[in-house]
Amino acid sequence: MAEVILKNVGKSYGTVVAVRDVNLTIADEEFVVLVGPSGCGKSTTLRMVAGLEEITAGVIAIGGKVVNELPPKDRDIAMVFQNYALYQHMTVRDNLAFGLRNRKVPEAEIDKQIAYAVKMLGIEPLLERRPRQLSGGQQQRVALGRCLVRNPKVFLFDEPLSNLDAQLRSQMRLELKELRKRVPTTSIYVTHDQVEAMTLGDRIVVMKDGLVQQVGSPLDLYRRPANRFVAGFIGSPAMNFIDVKVDATDTQATVAADGLSLSFTGQKAATLRAHAGKTVVMGVRPQHLLLDGADASGLVRFAARLSTSEQLGDQQLLDLRVGGTVVRVSGIDPSLTLAEGTELKLGAVPDNVHFFDAEGGQVLTT
């Protein structure tokens, strides 16, 4: 059982910087997900923890021991790779036993560990098969088994589910969650899929261009994104963004764009006042936009014209035009029939409206 600490960790290839200044403390038994678009440095960070990439700046410690110079085998970690990385010419049993035999564990002990792992993962009947005879999901289980038998301090997952089809992926996601309950081990999980990140992580680290954008619990990230990137990356469908101009008086603040004028009081107004006369970016999630008729008071309201609707069966997604921009609304009653071009009134709870700096994208706070 171990804590993992990353302090000012960086990686550069010559002049190209892949990862910079990552600071992260992962508690014992915590499950942390690194998420971000391709090339954001999440895999590189994981591989530095694994010891597969040299650390060019900063310090990584596992279980209270600095591991910068330690080879992977001495870090007491186990890793699941995206393409499973099974030893194709060995049986499943030998795949599982390989790491233990390398460490000269007695055969009786190996058998015991394998029996434990295969029971946990439900792959007993596959022991004498070779990886190529297995389906993707089965291979992934064997890869997990290879980690389990070793009983390491830390599990590392490098996009383990991205080679599986959508249905199997959600099934394996559940199984991973189940497994986690039974084998609580410190874990770092890399993915580009925000759904995986939200469902699996105790905490999520959002990365972009080698920089950590925000660290927090799934709900934290969803409700209080630190910047425009996190706001757009977390949540599906993605948050709507509209450039608005701020106008403020002593009691209220008004933001305006083509076809839109919203007034805020209280906390929001205080936040906006500091940016009076400037352009900021307003962000509202599609789920947080309510159709006309919602009787709640205190909503900010604006008009929009329907351009397209998408029927999903359980809900409808609407694309609406507000002046020059398109705003997306989700969670609409699927039996509601609306003609294109219909004028609709939209509303939002002021607390669900976010404002970001137009240049840096940082969320505006008082």
Binding site: G51, L52, F81, L86, Y87, F98, G99, N102, R132, R146
Partner: protein
């Protein structure tokens, strides 16, 4: 068009060769013609010759059936010297070049300063004509002027009449062949090594496998298919070796280092008995076909296991 206007019960007959097939045949034709003229025809001529008394002093070309085959197969020299020599040569040459080639490939697969230079130097033998290399090596092992004896005597060891004794001469030939072919193995195995996926090796690094265990349980099994192809190609090729042996020892001393190709050549072009030479060549061809099939079967099973 209405449906009734189409005769669905009697679709037009398919032609024997469709447009596509005819085009493909056309493309193959030149190569096929060349193959027929320069490979199949000479082989047929040779086969025909091996059943006749075909020599310059007997222009009758009398049909004699298997006479020459019987002669060759009952020739103690062919059965007890030439064939064992050939197979021994093939096995040792392929085995040694494979081992050395694999070692070189592993070396070149690592990143070290000056790698490109080392690679070029190591691959140099590939660019030398075998006859040139053989002449060079023959002179190195010359018993009076050769550098090898000079060095041996410098360190106080007796010089050897290398090419005047059967096994020393054979060793020199093998040395030349291995020297020539090791880079070929190295090149192909290096290409194989570089095409191996990286992840299993990373998994093994995390799994704590020693260098030896990585080599034994990952590199070799994953490289098996490439090795099989190399071995089969090279074994067939080694079986037919002519130039190096002819240049270094001409099959001597006393025909003791003859391989089957040398035997056939000597019978045909020195004894001027084309028929007997052809028969020897046909027998050799039959042996290598059988051998190659066995080698391929066995090795393929070995490679299958790795898949």
């Amino acid at each position: 068009m209405t449906l009734s206007a189409i005769d669905l019960d009697h679709p037009p007959k398919r032609r024997l060769f469709g447009e596509r097939q005819r085009f493909m045949l056309l493309l193959i034709a030149p190569a096929a013609a060349a193959l027929a003229f320069f490979q199949i025809l000479p082989i047929m001529t040779g086969a025909n010759a091996s059943f006749r008394d075909w020599s310059l002093h007997d222009p009758q070309m009398t049909w004699v059936g298997f006479k020459h085959y019987v002669y060759v197969l009952t020739d103690a020299g062919f059965v007890w010297t030439v064939m064992p020599n050939t197979i021994f040569f093939m096995v040792i040459s392929v085995a040694c070049s494979l081992v050395f080639g694999l070692a070189l490939a592993l070396l070149l697969n690592r990143n070290f300063p000056g790698r490109a230079v080392v690679q070029t130097i190591l691959l140099l033998p590939l660019m030398v004509a075998p006859v040139v290399a053989a002449i060079m090596i023959r002179w190195m092992f010359n018993d009076q002027f050769g550098i090898v004896n000079v060095v041996l005597e410098l360190v106080g060891l007796p010089g050897q009449p290398w090419l005047a004794q059967r096994w020393t001469a054979f060793s020199v030939i093998l040395f030349a062949d291995i020297w020539l072919w090791t880079p070929w193995f190295a090149l192909l195995l290096l290409a194989g090594l570089q095409s191996l996926p990286r992840e299993p090796f990373e998994a093994a690094a995390i799994d704590g496998a020693s260098h030896w265990r990585v080599f034994r349980y990952l590199t070799v099994p994953m490289l098996r298919p490439v090795m099989v192809v190399c071995i089969v190609i090279r074994a067939i090729d080694a079986f037919r070796t002519f130039d190096i042996v002819w240049t270094i020892s001409q099959g001597g001393p006393a025909r003791s280092t003859e391989l089957f190709s040398i035997y056939a050549y000597i019978e045909a072009f020195q004894a001027m008995n084309f028929a007997r030479g052809s028969a020897a060549a046909m027998i050799g061809a039959a042996v290598i076909v059988v051998l190659a099939m066995i080698i391929f079967r066995v090795l393929n099973r070995w490679a299958e296991v790795s898949k």
